[in-house]
């Protein structure tokens, strides 16, 4: 009885895994096919002849290096600034006492349900008036502070005992020193979590870079890929190669740091 159950369970689990993974497998394999080979009936799962031509094409003819670098600079930029700002704000909300702290915090939390698209237009006009459209800053600045990030850090920082901070202050440490020497090191795990979230979110974001980056030399990977999709509808294999390269960095980051990532989801949910 137990064995039968086990077999059924495994079948379902493996089947689900296959279904989830099949699109990826197919994408990777199609990216190595010769042009037109994937458009066959019945569909082909593996290339008959392995080729790297699409990857070469992407890097030489289609400027993929530029887009990869753009994505990398922007994602790392947003991650860096957002960790810096959110950790300060989160720490402040956790440990400082100031007038209206609770009110401001709950106001922030409730604004989380406002869809991002509502603020998109005002932010666009604001950035325009600052002359930042079509620069990296147009993506970095709006991504710098996130309520989710502040919330995450506040929850974590509240767990830091006050006595530690007080002890440091008695030793003559200023606010900056407390923040740099005590809070930041202690918050390392949560900062990692938030960092992965931010990095992936920025890397995968599509709409905002599409709007603010007018010059194609500033495109990020997803925008460039969508652009490619509009023009090379027929070149399935080329598109697949582009997709592989778009996905690869985030998947690698995820696989390397999945422990922190999954912990972040759980933290956000349990306290939410």
């Amino acid at each position: 009885m137990k064995n039968v159950k086990k077999i059924i369970l495994y079948t379902v689990v493996v089947l689900l895994a296959v279904i989830t993974f099949l699109p990826f497998l197919w994408m990777i394999s199609a990216s190595f096919m010769h042009p037109g080979e994937s458009s066959a009936y019945p569909p082909r799962l593996f290339p008959s002849d392995f080729t790297l031509m699409h990857y070469k094409d992407l890097f030489t003819r289609l400027n993929l290096t530029t887009y990869l670098l753009n994505s990398l600079v922007i994602s790392l930029g947003v991650t860096f600034f957002s960790l810096f700002l959110n950790s300060m704000a989160g720490y402040a909300f956790a440990k400082y006492r100031f007038a209206g702290k609770k009110k401001i915090f709950s106001l922030l939390l409730s604004s989380m349900i406002i869809p991002g698209q509502v603020t998109m237009l005002p932010v666009f006009l604001l950035l325009k008036s600052l002359g930042l459209i079509n620069t990296y800053w147009a993506i970095i600045i709006p991504g710098m502070a996130s309520i989710f990030g502040i919330f995450l850090i506040r929850q974590f920082a509240m767990g830091i005992p006050d006595s530690l901070i007080e002890a440091a202050k008695i030793d003559g440490a200023g606010d900056t020193e407390v923040y740099l020497r005590i809070i930041l090191p202690l918050c390392r795990p949560i900062l990692l979590t938030l960092g992965i979230f931010t990095f992936m979110g920025t890397w995968n974001d599509f709409l905002w870079p599409l709007i603010v980056m007018t010059d194609s030399s500033k495109y990020t990977m997803p925008v460039a890929l969508a652009n490619l999709m509009g023009e090379h509808v027929q070149d399935t294999e080329l598109m697949m190669a582009g997709s592989v390269l778009t996905i690869l960095p985030v998947v690698l980051v995820f696989l390397a740091l999945q422990k922190y990532y999954i912990k972040g989801i759980m933290m956000g949910s349990v306290k939410g």
């Binding site: 290096t65 459209i133 194609s216 509009g230 023009e231």
Partner: protein, 422 residues
């Protein structure tokens, strides 16, 4: 693998650095082009740079689906390029934004003759007697039909008038040669505007500030169109036509009012046996004229008002509209040349499908030249026609609905016109 990429990266970096140095003494002009044309136009650049050693052209290609957004956003952020491509119907919008350089003085100086372009198309580049763009490639709608079915039905030439078109469709339906002879896509606005204009409607009135869709001319045209829907001569349900080419091949429908891009599509998508069974013909006319008038479509090249390299940019525009370059461009993407002389080349002359286009292009008229035009026709007309076809609205209700929607979109324009008068 990784090492390979790193090598490639370094090589690219070096390469681009090298390029930068080499061209520092040249004037760099940027050109935004849209769609497949945007991709292929780079093939024309080496020749231009050879002829003009002091100028370097950088092409940026944008997809059609995001082109309009992209251009307006670029305007808003003041990053429009030196030259860009605009669909003819977008010219009024960018003119209203005051972002286009008038071209008349360049034209006069370099004696570029307006007569060398198709007249209706040329007109779509002129707003209030000022020229803002130069036609690059053209398109217009006309009739694609199945020659073999016409022959079976006993017709040896395409229909030349509204009445003939209707009789043809009726006969073909009666003889069971096609289920729905004429395909009028309900998700397009063009055929309906064409019928309206052919019937003498001005589409808009009072300095283009009110709709004239409920006027007698447009109403009558829509009544004519509705006969096709209600008498089973046109498919009323777009969902039934999921693959238009297959439907055309099967004879589900056999006449289709559509544009030049379908020449290439038909060639690749229809089976080889079908290839000598279809043809193109100019549109039938309303009042005994043949061909009947169609819409002046296509894309034009404009000079950005804020460009600091107008002279070089103008040289490039002039180059792209030169007859021999236009023929070369046709070879690259099969886009129809805007310069009539280019049509004398063998590639175009010997293409049997293009003769009808050449004829039709002499008889085109621009759509009303106001920024709101696309908004009026895009969602609004399509939706109403869909309801008309499904018999959810009568002809009178349809034209009233379109007109009300048009008037509501035009409200701002009326207000602005009144401001200017005061």
């Amino acid at each position: 693998m990784k090492r390979f990429f790193i090598l490639l990266l370094t090589a690219l970096a070096l390469f681009s650095a090298g390029c930068g140095k080499q061209n520092s003494d040249k004037e760099l002009i940027t050109f935004w082009a849209i769609g497949a044309e945007g991709e292929k136009v780079s093939g024309l650049i080496p020749q231009f740079e050879k002829e003009n050693p002091g100028i370097k052209v950088k092409v940026q290609q944008i997809p059609w689906t995001a082109a309009h957004e992209k251009l307006i956003t670029a305007y808003a952020s003041e990053t429009l390029p030196d030259i860009f491509q605009l669909g003819n119907t977008w010219i009024p919008e960018f003119q209203a934004l005051n972002s286009l350089e008038p071209l008349d003085k360049y034209l006069m100086r370099d004696s570029v003759a307006p007569e060398s372009f198709f007249p209706g198309i040329w007109d779509s580049n002129v707003i209030d007697s000022v020229l803002y763009a130069l036609p690059w490639y053209v398109d217009t709608r006309l009739l694609f039909y199945r020659k073999d079915i016409f022959e079976k039905a006993g017709f040896n030439r395409p229909p030349e008038s509204w009445d003939e078109l209707y009789t043809y469709a009726e006969t073909i339906k009666k003889k069971n040669l096609s289920k729905y002879p004429l395909f009028l896509p309900t998700n397009e606005w063009n055929p309906y505007i064409i019928f309206g204009i052919q019937n003498g409607s001005t589409i808009l009135k009072n300095n283009n500030s009110y709709g004239d869709f409920n006027g007698p001319r447009f109403r009558e045209a829509m009544r004519y169109v509705s006969k096709y829907f209600y008498n089973g001569l046109s498919p009323i349900d777009m969902t039934a036509v999921t693959n238009a080419y297959q439907a055309f091949e099967e004879g589900y429908f056999m006449m289709w009012i559509t544009g030049p891009w379908n020449i290439q599509e038909m060639r690749t998508r229809l089976s080889p046996a079908m290839q000598d069974k279809w043809m193109t013909a100019p549109l039938p006319g309303r009042h005994g004229e043949y061909p009947g008038v169609s819409l002046a479509g296509g894309s034009s090249l404009v000079l950005g008002k804020t460009s600091s390299k107008k002279e070089s940019a103008w040289k490039f525009i002039k180059y792209l509209t030169r007859a021999d370059v236009q023929v070369e461009f046709f070879r690259l993407v099969t886009s129809l040349p805007s310069v009539m002389k280019a049509w004398e080349s063998p590639e175009l002359r010997d293409n049997k499908y293009l003769a009808a286009f050449y004829m039709q292009l002499q008889h085109t008229t621009p759509t009303p030249k106001i920024p709101e035009w696309e908004q009026i026709v895009f969602a609004k007309i399509q939706q109403s026609v869909e309801l008309l076809a499904a018999k959810k609205l009568t002809v009178d209700e349809t034209v009233t609905k379109i007109n009300n929607e048009a008037n509501s979109i035009l409200e701002k324009r009326r207000w602005m016109l009144s401001q200017k008068v005061n």
